[in-house]
């Protein structure tokens, strides 16, 4: 099967007054349709940047993509003209943000914002407007993504809200019914009332449900969830996660799940990518990576998770902190904090993501460490 999303050697810098931050360095991974890929890492490791770089949401400047490709359904998104990117967003790639407080527009009612999303999807479904289409018959063996012009070469019609024809107005009742349905889908009890409220009149958990409803109402092929539960209370968190799992089965969406919480990732993801200092240091099926990590960072990270079955002893913590992305240490960026560090680690440039020796072939377990097989073999 062809991967839905293939990120290849993506490198991205931020150029701000204080210097150049190498936020993403040579990030590569693949995502198969219908799978949930979790991206995990400490604060500032670049995982949110990765999530926003895929639909090209980052303002340029300060962001600057140095190299790489983001191949989505056979089209390299980085070579799509900027003004055509909105056609990819929403119906093809949806997104849920971290802060439910800020992710709904305070000036508009829930109905307005939710119906806007539904309307965009309906316009695109009806064929009245240009849409993004997966490249048909693309062949990865040639390693040439389909020309973006071919992928989106339909005639251009005004963007959805602009085309407020009489038909659209007649359909507004229909949109409302659709919006209500999505509110019920995210288990909101009193959707009629909620729909007419302003975001500030709702609780954080409620807002996050609306965000999820909004993203789902466009039926995206790929949903990027950037720490969707981190800002919520622990009880609400569990509810939202359960909800998302149920919805995955109902709506058949592939999810890129970004979180700093290993527990959440273990719960949700099929595959996991561990990020450190702007690059993916380990990637593989969740069970395998959790059972037998092949990168010292993953190992340390897993160790620092509180274990409720072990009552005594000091909670192990990872010494040091995430390096400054504008002044990375030479060699492997993890070596100053690494217990396994020894010669090729320091003078040589950091190792790239290679299949782990000894791991099941075809499982796709890869790690970026000179001693990955050694780490992998450890109990």
């Amino acid at each position: 099967m062809e991967p839905l999303l293939r990120v290849e050697h993506l490198s991205l810098d931020y150029e701000v007054g204080a210097g150049t931050f190498h936020a993403l360095r040579d990030v590569s991974f693949e995502m198969m349709p219908g799978r949930v890929v979790g991206i995990v890492g400490e604060t500032g490791c670049g995982k949110s940047t990765l999530g926003q770089a895929i639909p090209r949401l980052l303002p340029e400047p300060p962001a600057r993509i140095r190299e790489g490709r983001v191949v989505f359904q056979g089209t390299d998104l980085l070579s799509v003209p900027k003004w055509k990117m909105p056609l990819v967003r929403g119906t093809s790639i949806g997104m849920i943000f971290q802060e439910p407080i800020n992710s709904l527009n305070p000036a508009y009612r829930v109905s307005d914002q939710l119906m806007e999303a539904v309307r965009i999807r309906k316009f695109r479904e009806s064929g009245e407007t240009e849409v993004f289409r997966p490249a048909e018959g693309f062949d990865y063996s040639k390693d040439r993504p389909v020309d973006p012009k071919e992928a989106m070469g339909r005639t251009f019609l005004p963007s959805p809200p602009a085309a407020r024809s009489a038909g659209a107005r007649r359909g507004s009742e229909e949109l409302r019914i659709d919006a209500l349905e999505y509110l019920r889908l995210v288990r909101i009890n009193d959707p009629e009332t909620i729909l007419d409220l302003f975001p500030h009149e709702l609780s954080g958990g409620m807002r996050q449900r609306i965000m999820i409803a909004m993203a789902l109402s466009e039926k995206p092929t790929l949903l990027i969830a950037d720490e969707p539960t981190s800002a919520l209370d622990i009880t609400i968190q569990a509810q939202v996660l359960t909800l998302m799992k149920e919805l995955m089965d109902e709506v058949h969406t592939s999810i890129l799940f970004i979180s700093h919480d290993l527990g959440v990732i273990a719960e949700m993801a099929d595959d996991i990518g561990v990020m450190y200092a702007g690059s993916i240091v380990e990637f593989g099926p969740v069970g395998e990576v959790f059972d037998r990590p092949a990168h010292p960072y993953t190992k340390a990270l897993l160790k620092s998770v509180p274990n409720r079955y072990k009552e005594d002893g000091v909670l192990p913590s990872l010494p040091g902190s995430v390096p400054n992305l504008s002044r990375l240490p030479s060699g492997c960026p993890f070596h100053p904090r690494c217990v396994f560090a020894r010669p090729p680690c320091e003078p040589d440039p950091g190792p790239s993501l290679e299949p782990v020796k000894g791991a099941p072939v075809g499982g796709g377990h890869r790690a970026a460490c000179y001693y990955s097989d050694e780490v992998f073999r450890l109990p």
């Binding site: 931020y14 701000v16 007054g17 204080a18 210097g19 931050f21 936020a23 604060t43 500032g44 949110s48 940047t49 980052l58 303002p59 300060p62 962001a63 010494p319 040091g320 902190s321 995430v322 390096p323 400054n324 992305l325 504008s326 002044r327 240490p329 070596h335 100053p336 904090r337 690494c338 217990v339 560090a341």
Partner: protein
């Protein structure tokens, strides 16, 4: 933890030097990223140095003998010309900005007005800054109702409201006109009407800062009001004040020259840009340089301060700076190197 403290003066000075170097480097980056601000900075420096030279050179040479100015002519000197009433000559190599209708060198006249306008800009805005900041701090910080400070702050805000409820130029005009004509009445009139902007600005900032969590925390920890004021509040309002002051110097210059334009500011013998535009207004179509030269001078002076101030706002204003940084959610903390042995 004693070892961590810098043990000698030299190490502190070295850290200071390093800090200064880092500050200079980031200043350079910022200026490079904001070319307009850089241009404004250069212009302001040029204007300031030029006006110091215009006043300073004749003064210093005057101490040792006959004063020598850097201007090519005395601003009121009548240059010889054929028909006494039609002396206006276009710009030439001898008279860079041409001459006016009675044969005075426009270049000298325009430059001679520079120090006066600049000094007035700095003084009035400075006076307003001091008075306004003082009153604004009182009104913002001691505003508990029922106390002496509370009553005082209500009184201050009422008076400020009165001034703010009115176009300041009109009030300044009315005051200047009733005080009689001249430079000093115009100066007093602007000073009287100028400070309320600062009261509102400072009070607003104080109220905003006062309720920030860390100030509340300092208060809860028993830090006295004055200490909070000096350490937290003043530091936080400094940046918006610098920005506002920089732009305000330009605004004061425009207001002062407007009063002169109307004819109740400086007497006609002293060259001033506003009064020059007024007196040459009729020549705009026949000898445009007489109007455009002083006009360009005031335009460039005010533009210089606005460019600098507007750019400083983007650089200093925490809110817009935050906006700039937020787009790049990159960690700015320096790396702490932990040795492998420690692990």
């Amino acid at each position: 933890m004693d070892e961590r403290r810098p043990s000698s003066w030299s190490s502190t000075s070295r850290t200071r030097l390093r800090k200064a170097a880092r500050a200079a480097r980031s200043l350079y980056r910022i200026l490079r990223a904001n070319p307009l601000t850089f241009v404004g900075f250069i212009m302001v420096m040029f204007i300031a140095i030029l006006s110091v030279l215009i006043v300073g050179v004749p003064f210093i040479t005057g101490l040792f003998g006959t004063p020598v100015g850097i201007l090519p002519h005395d601003p009121n000197e009548l240059l010889p010309c054929a028909v006494p009433t039609e002396c206006a000559a276009p710009p030439s190599l001898q008279n860079w900005f041409g001459t006016d209708n009675i044969g005075r060198d426009m270049f000298s006249r325009v430059l001679a007005a520079l120090p006066l306008d600049l000094v007035i800009g700095f003084t009035v805005a400075g006076f307003a800054l001091l008075v306004g900041t003082g009153l604004g701090l009182v009104a913002g910080f001691w505003d508990t109702p029922g106390t002496v400070g509370g009553t005082l702050s209500v009184a201050i805000m009422r008076v400020t409201d009165i001034f703010l409820a009115f176009p300041s130029l009109v009030l300044a005009l009315a005051i200047a006109a009733s005080l009689g004509r001249g430079t000093v009445p115009a100066l007093i009139a602007i000073m009287v009407t100028w400070w309320p902007f600062y009261v509102r600005l400072v009070r607003g900032e104080v109220l905003a800062v006062k309720h920030l969590p860390y100030v509340a925390a300092a208060r809860a920890a028993g830090v006295s009001g004055l200490q909070i004021l000096s350490r937290h509040v003043l530091r936080n309002i400094l940046e918006p004040l610098i920005v506002y002051y920089t732009m305000d110097v330009g605004t004061v210059i425009v207001t002062f020259s407007t009063i002169s334009f109307i004819g109740i500011g400086v007497p006609p013998t002293i060259p001033e840009w506003g009064s020059m535009v007024e007196s040459y207004e009729k020549l705009l179509l026949t000898a445009p340089w007489t109007v455009l030269a002083p006009g360009a001078a005031i335009f460039l002076t005010v533009l210089a301060f606005s460019l600098l101030g507007d750019g400083l706002r983007d650089i200093l204003d925490p809110r817009s700076r935050r906006a700039l940084v937020q787009t790049a959610t990159a960690p700015g903390l320096p790396a702490v190197k932990a040795s492998a042995a420690e692990a």
